[in-house]
């Protein structure tokens, strides 16, 4: 078992970064934590600081103002870190990709391990994505 496997073997702690989004992905991520889907049964917990996190969830198109902050968060995070881009905007920029303040999809700014497409992805899709990611390493 490599170091990375060891790190991601148990409960994944997740930090959520909402970029310039429409809020849909944000509420679907919160929805994952509420009784119907209840991600916490997998040991997945939303944490308040990136320094505690194993996974960085990024959703929304990233505008010029968010870009530097996202980079800084990435540098502050303890490695190894899994980055998940959620939603059409997180994956490609979606409908806002032609906007004047758009600063590139997430994978142009930081390396991304998994993409969960959809506008917004259903909670089931988000759970499936994260579980797959945890199992892959």
């Amino acid at each position: 078992m490599g170091f990375k496997d060891y790190c991601f073997r148990k409960s994944l702690w997740v930090f959520h970064f909402g970029g310039a989004s429409c809020n849909n992905c944000d509420i679907e991520i919160l929805d994952c934590l509420t009784p119907r889907h209840d991600l916490e049964r997998f040991g997945i917990l939303l944490v308040g600081s990136i320094r505690h996190a194993d996974v960085l969830l990024v959703n929304g198109s990233i505008n010029m103002r968010d870009k530097d902050r996202l980079l800084e968060l990435y540098h502050q995070a303890p490695k190894p870190l899994l980055v998940v881009a959620i939603g059409a905007c997180g994956c490609t920029g979606g409908i806002f990709a032609e906007g004047m303040t758009f600063a590139g999809p997430v994978d142009k700014i930081i390396p991304v391990d998994a993409y969960i497409p959809g506008c917004p992805p259903k909670p089931e899709a988000i759970i499936a994505g994260i579980v797959k990611l945890a199992g892959k390493k």
């Binding site: 310039a20 902050r69 806002f96 906007g99 758009f102």
Partner: protein, 401 residues
């Protein structure tokens, strides 16, 4: 001598789901001043809208805000239909109202949950979000998606609600009503919630008028305004319902108004599906060949208040100018009144009480460099930037032509 402490909330605070920066200036425990910064969420929607056709703009305005993703298309449809001067069919009106009211229920439940979360009362959060799920199921059944519904178009709606689905909808509404009963009982009788919310973040009637606040925020302070009644659209004049108001203006009153509004919404939906049942299926859209030159304004009552869209058409297939004002834009300004003089714990609750939606509120703002006081980007430079970007996209061939 008192010393001021700055407590920042945000921009990426675990308590908030959206990026927004509040600066609370505190003297000990008491908040003495508050400032807020926007722009973390700016996507340039008004400008983007000018590059899309009228059919595409619906998908764009739907993504202004995920929670009120019907209100914006509603207001935009009202605006464009004013330019075309057309009245949609009754069936389309009822379907629009059903979607609008379902959204109000889901949004208010979401707010009750988040308010509970802000109180540190996570049981309410979990309950409210659990009870919200049947509403989302209904959305999935009617529109095919849980959050962005894509139901609206100029001249009607995209999908019909088949009469065969109506019994299932009626059953689900009855379930939702029972859940709201439970939740209302729990919230209204809970001594902890009373203690934390009564007399907190009071906005007087005069404050509301001074700041131009709208929606449940205004109605909780005794200002009786509701676009659905004052400037009727869709099926609202065809059904019986009443505007809920409260007098106290505190956080509890805002919760009360929202909880009681959910009953009104449920009753509107029931009346609408009763009417749908008596009608012929399929008569949901009008054929609109062109949008003439002209100006149109559209208003709609979002769960948070009045959404206003202003569209200028030059006769082409995309808007020449599209101006949007979301309710949170005026509601957020009331923080200056409601938070100052409160303790920090109560101030965060007062912030949450107006149900601020930051992604609706984003405005183009000129950026200043704090150290030198120099303007970094003004509006013209941003437009130049936009033009540059468009030409880049054209060259790379990824833009829509």
């Amino acid at each position: 001598m008192s010393r001021k402490t700055l407590i920042p909330i945000g921009p990426y605070h675990p308590l908030q789901e959206e990026p927004e920066l509040f600066k609370l200036y505190c003297d000990g425990e008491i908040v003495t001043d508050i400032k807020w910064e926007t722009g973390y969420n700016h996507r340039g929607i008004e400008k983007l809208s000018e590059s899309k056709s009228y059919d595409q703009v619906f998908f764009l305005v739907e993504r202004i805000c995920g929670i009120c993703s019907t209100s914006h298309p509603f207001a935009f449809a009202n605006a464009v239909e004013e330019i075309v001067a057309v009245e949609i069919t009754d069936r389309a009106k009822y379907i629009r109202s059903i979607i609008g009211e379902l959204e109000r229920i889901h949004s208010h439940l979401l707010w009750v949950g988040l308010a509970g979360h802000f109180l540190g009362y996570n049981t309410v959060f979990m309950w409210a979000w659990k009870y919200r799920e049947p509403v989302l199921d209904l959305f999935e059944m009617i529109t095919g998606n849980r959050n962005s519904y894509a139901m609206f178009k100029v001249g009607g709606v995209r999908r019909d609600i088949e009469n065969s689905k109506i019994p299932a909808i009626r059953k689900e509404i009855a379930v939702i009503r029972k859940k709201i009963d439970l939740l209302t009982g729990a919230v209204m009788d809970d001594p902890v919630i009373h203690a934390r919310t009564k007399g907190v973040g009071i906005l007087t009637r005069q404050d509301i008028i001074d700041y131009g606040a709208v929606g449940p925020t205004a109605r909780a302070s005794g200002v009786d305004i509701d676009v659905r009644r004052d400037d009727p659209y869709a099926a609202y004049p065809l059904v019986n319902w009443k505007v809920i108001t409260a007098q106290a203006g505190d956080v509890f009153a805002k919760a009360e108004v929202r909880l009681l509004e959910m009953y009104e919404s449920a009753s509107i939906i029931e009346q609408c599906i009763d009417a749908l049942e008596k009608m012929k299926e399929g008569d949901i859209t009008l054929k609109i060949n062109e949008i003439p030159e002209g100006l149109g304004t559209g208003r709609a009552e979002a769960p948070r208040g009045e959404v206003f869209h202003f569209v200028v058409s030059d006769g082409s297939n995309s808007p020449a100018r599209h101006k949007i004002r979301a309710p949170s834009y005026t509601n957020i300004a009331t923080f200056k009144k409601s938070c100052i003089g409160q303790t920090i714990a109560d101030a965060t609750l007062s912030l949450a009480a107006v149900d601020p939606c930051y992604c609706c509120t984003e405005r183009m703002a000129a950026a200043y460099d704090n150290s030198s006081g120099k303007k970094i980007l003004n509006a013209n430079e941003l437009i130049a930037l936009s033009l540059k970007r468009t030409s880049e996209l054209r060259k790379s061939g990824t833009g829509h032509e």
